[in-house]
Amino acid sequence: MSEVLKVVNLTKEYATFRGLGRTAPLRAVDNISFAVNSGEVVGFLGPNGAGKSTTIKMITGLAAPTSGEVYIDGHDVVKERYAAMKCVGGVIESPDMYPDRTALWNLKYYASLQFAGDKTKDKKYIADRIDGVLSLVGLKGRENHKIRTYSMGMKQRLGIAQALIEIPKLLVLDEPANGLDPDGIKEIRDLLRTLAGEYGVGVLVSSHQLAEMQLMCDRCLIINRGRIIEDRKIAELNVDAKGNVSIIVKTDRPEEAAAFVKEKFAAKAEACEGEVRVRSELKASDLTRELVLAGFNVYGVSEEEVRLEDLFMHAVHGGGEE
């Protein structure tokens, strides 16, 4: 997998003023670095004011970095804007289009800019692409309606459609599930998974819908106060930074079992309501075998499900920066 997005020591400061005097600049994004690979869906999470939007704007060239670089498919966004933007599709903050024009007009307009100067993309190709993306997002038959008559969900779909007029190498989406019903959310999720899986598109998606992000993403970045405080694969949410996993064992003598585990494995273990909660690098199968051999009756073993929401809350509010 190649890096379609590479962010290197990116910093954004805003000048602040008090009265006529200039005060210390506000650092909205503080020296962050990360990458998104092709075929990877990366969630970009953070509380309001954490620096998500500023980062996304710098990635897409809407805001200039104070320092640091952004490379899209190897092209510097500032120095090689044309080549970099040719590889990007996206919806930033909201899918705003020209409200007094039809969806078809809007798509044709964006296509004319996207394919300008490319003589291999003739009118038929563009018409087919527009037809294709309209079908993909379920707006076929509504393309001749003015945007102002569209619901928020339809606007979201159209926003994604315009981003896919040319299959991008990097897709940047800001709150793509806003205004969508559950079916629509699932369709968007499936669409993003398809784009990543079949077309190798790298997707950076920002959202506050953590449960949905857990289903949608391969990896998540959590930003707070301008700094990346977590970079975790979704499949490894259960594993903390030290490689520990929480295992819950149902047994007949939980207090004794907890003491046994602490003594034998030097692991964290605590008993409560007929269970022992063990946090260690042990595998569940190894722990079960040792408990049974030690004479405990084991009625059930499971790995604790760590939700993205738990990780987010812990990272943002529970000392994740340390």
Partner: protein
């Protein structure tokens, strides 16, 4: 790329409702002008000449002699012209000495030296080209266009109509250009636009060019209607026409040239105000401010500065090129074509340069 941007901007800036309203207002103005022009012309002519049929003195000794004159039809023989040249040369020396004594070395309002030079230049032109014993329509810098002692003709009406419609076209241009960037920010569409592989400078250039195209279409549309109405309502009177230009160059022009000069002068004003509205819109991202500033604030500030004698250094007076083609009732205080040209380039170029620089660098909030 630029072609695609320009084509898109042309379509985006086409507001059918605004066009229809503006066209209707323009048509009503033209019809009213056509209906009342003849009688108004008579009235003003009578008021200004006391019914003598001679307006304020292009020739020394005629009329009020204060330099505020109308279009006149001259028909002089060689003797008269020779005598007047001698008289003008004498008076010019006197006036230049007076001016030097007063410490002025530039033009000022109703500058007698300026007008005397112009009169002399006109007379010399007639002598050199032997334009004796024939009707000559004479325009000076102090002429109210179309208010002609020779009566209303298609050309005089057309020039007057164009001068009257120019403010309407300026408003239309300010709306089209002043909305170009603010609308993108208000609707939020600028973000998706800049996500395309387009340069910000190309986008700004395309928007400006589209706005100028729109206002040009509006202006020349008004021109065509004005010409058609002029020749339909008023009879054509042909006379060779002399224009003074900043007290220097003189050309003999026919009616078409008269219309052409009026058209070109007002067109410059329209382009300047459209560009300023565009630049202010791009810089402030505020549509109302962009539309109001050039049309109202600049005019108000310009009027105040004019009173203080500094008007020639401000855009409202400097962009008023019509004054140099005799389309204003009086020349603006201290007006000089080359100062006006420099100020027009300075203000318009400065505002547009600032717009390009700021749009090119500023973050999209």
């Amino acid at each position: 790329m630029f072609k695609a941007l320009y084509a898109g901007e042309l379509k985006k800036q086409t507001n059918v409702k605004t066009v229809v309203i503006m066209a209707a207002i323009a048509l009503v103005i033209l019809i009213i002008l056509a209906a009342v022009f003849d009688s108004v012309n008579e009235m003003i002519f009578e008021t200004n000449t006391g019914g003598l049929g001679v307006s304020g003195g292009i020739l020394p000794g005629e009329g009020a002699g204060d330099g505020t004159s109308f279009r006149e039809t001259w028909n002089y023989d060689e003797t008269t012209v020779t005598a007047e040249i001698a008289r003008c040369e004498y008076m010019l020396k006197m006036l230049e000495a007076e001016k030097e004594e007063a410490g002025f070395d530039y033009y000022r309002n109703n500058d007698s030296v300026y007008y005397m030079r112009a009169r002399l230049a006109l007379l010399e032109y007639i002598r050199d080209n032997e334009l004796y014993d024939r009707d000559l329509a004479v325009y000076t810098n102090g002429t109210v266009a179309g208010m002609s002692s020779a009566g209303v003709t298609a050309d005089t009406f057309c020039v007057f109509a164009l001068s009257s419609l120019v403010f309407l076209v300026i408003i239309y241009g300010a709306i089209a250009a002043g909305s170009a960037y603010p609308d993108e920010f208000r609707q939020g569409t600028v973000k998706l636009l800049l996500l395309r592989p387009v340069s910000r400078n190309a986008l700004t250039g395309a928007k400006l060019l589209a706005a100028l195209t729109h206002v040009s279409a509006a202006y020349f549309g008004c021109f065509l209607v004005a010409v058609a109405l002029s020749y339909a309502v008023f009879p054509v009177e042909h006379a060779e026409t002399l224009y003074m230009f900043n007290g220097g160059a003189i050309t003999v022009a026919d009616n078409a040239a008269q219309i052409g000069i009026a058209l070109a002068c007002n067109y410059v004003t329209v382009l300047v105000y459209t560009s300023l509205a565009f630049a202010i819109g791009a810089l402030t991202r505020n549509k109302v401010f962009a539309i109001i500033t050039p049309v109202i604030l600049i005019e108000v500030l310009g009027a105040i500065l004019s009173m203080s004698g500094l008007g020639r250094f401000f855009i409202s007076d400097a962009a008023n090129w019509a004054q140099f083609a005799g389309l204003n009732s009086t020349l603006i205080g201290g007006a000089n074509f080359f100062i006006a040209l420099a100020m027009t380039v300075l203000y318009t170029g400065g505002a547009l340069t600032a717009a390009f620089l700021v749009v090119g660098q500023k973050d999209v909030a």
